[in-house]
Symmetry: C2
Subunit: 138 residues, 2 copies
Amino acid sequence: MSDREAILAANGEFYRAFESLDANAMGELWLRDPRIVCIHPGWHRLVGWGPIMTSWERIFDNILEMKFELGETQVMASGDLAVVVVEENLTQRGYEGTIRTRVLATNVFERAEGRWWIVSHHGSPVISPPEEEEPPLQ
Amino acid sequence: MSDREAILAANGEFYRAFESLDANAMGELWLRDPRIVCIHPGWHRLVGWGPIMTSWERIFDNILEMKFELGETQVMASGDLAVVVVEENLTQRGYEGTIRTRVLATNVFERAEGRWWIVSHHGSPVISPPEEEEPPLQ
């Protein structure tokens, strides 16, 4: 398996753990390191194992079902670091109904002990439709 | 200068170019490569030199003044790739007044020809106040 294939596989595992709604499965993919970072869409930055794992537990407690269809994916890698930029088309069923949303994510992976661990997840909502050409102001 | 210092310097240059509102200054910092990625807050993903430079021109055309105060900064680096996660506290003056916003950014840099070039910028709005403990649903 090439580095690129291994990185894409690690990225795929992240979304399967997300769909599993199992915080333990999610926890197995993150590097146990105080430097890890997670930015859920619209939320402030979480740093470190405890806050990040607590956030997954709370998200999973409030969702009944979650399905991802991943769009175009960019991979950048060098040494033991890799960045994946990916579009998440997601359908989530919660207590208040089913919604479909589009999120863009930058996922960062670090290689340690022969496997790729997630060290940063930054998800953000796509507010503007893709047809428009004008970017919004900052 | 250590790698970390050089990466932080490249990140600082990105925000100085942003404040300069000069698309040419911004263009000098990006790797001229079809793989480069830019996600402005709330906007869809732009890929490649042309769309990204056009977006900076349009943003700069609509802003009279822009000031960044950078918050806590995480750096991850290996080989020729580096990731910086940073909080942008920004004040922008436009034709409709002055607004202050908080954005979280993941900036990716690649080393080529002895310097660090930006290859991905992902900015997203912070919607939830930092005091709250519950992350929003996806």
